[in-house]
Amino acid sequence: MQTILSSDIFILSIVLGVYLLANLLYKTTKIALLHPLLTSIITIIVLLKILGIDYPTFKQGSHFIDFLLGPSVVALGFLLHEQIEHIKGRTVSILVSILVGSLAGILSVIGIALLFGADKVLIATLQPKSVTTPIAIAIVERTGGVPAITAVVVIAVGIFGGIVGPFILDKLGVKSRIARGLALGASAHGIGTARAMELGVVEGAISGLAIGIMGLATAFLVPLVMALFSV
């Protein structure tokens, strides 16, 4: 029995089955907090605990789905190509918006963390929180933060930003599809992009572009700002 439970096929079935049900729940209730990503994660964690499947076993079994994350980012290049007319002539405004956003993110992390009396290590750990995981880890390794904590925070920020993002943007009166896509990708990386895809292909394509630019901008700005503050 235990060998069936820990087999790849069983685990893959759990992930897909739970995700499909979660999608159905989301589509019928239309409650934002019941986003399939969030409900799937919670349901699967509970199921694993009940069935006595440990995380390494789950990780190995679900590797195939996890692997598709990389190709799905590559595939955003196709969306970008399809949506090129929305980007044309906006290179400067897109770059400037994300650079300003990245700087605001870095400075706000420092400001709020200092209010909590956080030390330099924690500040370094949290700075790349809006950046896609691989870039975030690369940044933290250079600035002396704790990569394990960064990895968790990045995913949590993505889930949070992806779920509340559209509401915040509504409240702020950000209606432009390009601005919304940029904001979601820049603040909540790939998970924000997954949400942007739900809003539309324009939002999704721009959001994918924003992941890359935000990652580069933050990788460039973090060491600069850190140097300014520690001198």
Binding site: V15, Y19, L37, I41, I44, F58, K59, S62, L68, L69, G70, P71, S72, V73, V74, A75, L76, G77, F78, H81, K88, R90, T91, V100, G101, A104, S108, V109, I112, F116, A118, L122, L126, S130, T132, P134, I135, A138, A148, I149, V152, V153, I155, I159, F160, L169, L172, V174, A179, L182, A183, S187, A188, I191, T193, A194, M197, G208, G215, L216
Partner: protein
């Protein structure tokens, strides 16, 4: 479909290779995205060949994040020490980034619109020229 799978994976592999060469500063998937975009723009690759698989991937992105998210079940422990500071910093700063990026770009678009609305043919011409000279 198989051609599409091959093309996407090929660009992923090239992206990973480039990433390795530059010490992982930019992740391979992001480089792969940019290279695929350029190849499609230059028509090195016909867009019809990747459409099916690429659309499948981008339409189901949330699913691919589920395994990483389940990882929170073991990783949350490292957060417990400073969880209040970490939560407040993350939430507030994420909202700030979102607001700043969205708002800034919307302001840019409004300005651009105002410029376009001033009926001026030569200006329209120059903006069209600027467009074509901008590959992104």
């Amino acid at each position: 479909m198989v051609v599409g799978i091959f093309v996407v994976l090929l660009f992923y592999a090239i992206g990973e290779g480039v990433s390795l060469a530059i010490n992982g500063v930019i992740p391979g998937s992001v480089i792969g995205m940019l290279l695929l975009f350029v190849a499609l723009q230059l028509r090195v690759i016909p867009s019809g060949s990747v459409k099916g698989f690429a659309s499948f991937l981008t339409n189901n992105m949330a699913l691919f994040f589920v395994p990483a998210g389940v990882g929170l079940m073991v990783a949350y422990r490292v957060l417990l020490q400073n969880w209040v500071a970490i939560t407040v910093v993350s939430v507030v700063s994420t909202v700030i980034v979102m607001a700043v990026v969205g708002h800034t770009h919307q302001q840019f678009e409004k300005k651009q619109q105002q410029n376009n609305q001033l009926p001026n043919e030569s200006e329209e011409d120059s903006s069209a020229l600027a467009d074509s000279s901008n590959p992104l």
